[in-house]
């Protein structure tokens, strides 16, 4: 596979805006208004331990 010409714009878009989010320290926002801060990874792990397994 030949290497793509890598502009900084592509690097930033690929790495900062895309890709799977694994440790989601997240600010929930709607219409550019920041609403609430949530650490989703901790939330998911906690739910996984509290809720009964199907």
């Amino acid at each position: 596979m030949p290497p793509a010409e890598t502009s900084l714009a592509d690097v930033i878009d690929n790495l900062l805006n895309r890709g799977v989010v694994l440790n989601a320290d997240l600010i929930l926002a709607l219409a550019d208004v920041d609403l609430i801060y949530v650490r989703l990874s901790a939330l998911l792990c906690a739910a996984d331990r509290i809720l009964p397994r199907p």
Binding site: L15, R18, L22, V33
Partner: protein
């Protein structure tokens, strides 16, 4: 004792560990897929050199492994927490790996074209309820140019999946296409044949835009 890892990507299989620019990449076996990680206690700084290094590492993985789902920059996480998250989201990850196997991402950027946004959709009327105001503001700030439809139609027979990033008040619209690894030249030829100097095509990239959303 907490053991943290920095995650570069989830992969369909493992390859021998390697080092690139003093970052050592190894693989965690997650029963059916792997995580390409560096054992470290610190996330890299947000700087151009570290961003380019991570991009190079993901690209190397992508060139050697047929199914790679890149992680977003900054994925420093406790190893046990990572295993819990990935176990809880196993079906979504396996679906994503199946989708990207043997495929690449092409990125098509469009210039910012304020004139293409209908004036009526750019203004938000007053006197709305809070919910209606926020929804109107969201719609007013995001749109896809007509040219994106032309490009999407032209490459439709090569496209396996598509993501769009509509134009905002700050940046032009972007189309992301997932195509077979062997179709890169044909894809570029088709877009070039449209004779639109305003359209910028780049790739092949690892499928950053086709990562699953693990946080519904």
């Amino acid at each position: 004792m907490t053991r943290t890892v920095y995650v570069f990507a989830l992969t369909g299989h493992a390859i021998p560990s390697f080092a690139l620019k003093r970052r050592r990449v190894e693989f965690l076996d997650l029963r059916g897929f792997h995580a390409a990680v560096e054992r470290t206690s610190q996330a890299p700084p947000v700087s151009e050199p570290s961003l380019r290094t991570q991009h190079d590492i993901v690209t190397r993985l992508f060139n050697r492994i047929d199914a790679v789902v890149p992680a977003r920059f900054g994925a420093l996480i406790d190893e046990h927490e990572l295993r819990d998250i990935l176990e809880a989201r196993r079906p979504a990850i396996q679906d994503a790996l199946a989708l990207v196997r043997g495929r690449v991402q092409m990125t098509v950027r469009f210039p910012e074209t304020p004139e293409s946004i209908p004036r009526t959709s750019r203004s938000v009327p007053s006197g709305l309820t809070g919910t209606a105001y926020l929804e109107a503001r969201r719609i007013a700030s995001r749109t896809m140019p007509a040219l994106a439809g032309v490009v999407a139609t032209a490459v439709a027979n090569l496209t396996i999946a598509e993501r769009t990033e509509p134009q905002t008040e700050r940046a032009g619209a972007v189309l992301y296409h997932l195509i077979a690894r062997g179709n890169v030249a044909r894809y570029k030829d088709v877009v070039s044949s449209l004779n639109s100097a305003a359209v910028s095509v780049s790739g092949p990239w690892p499928p950053f835009a086709f990562a699953p959303d693990l946080w519904p």
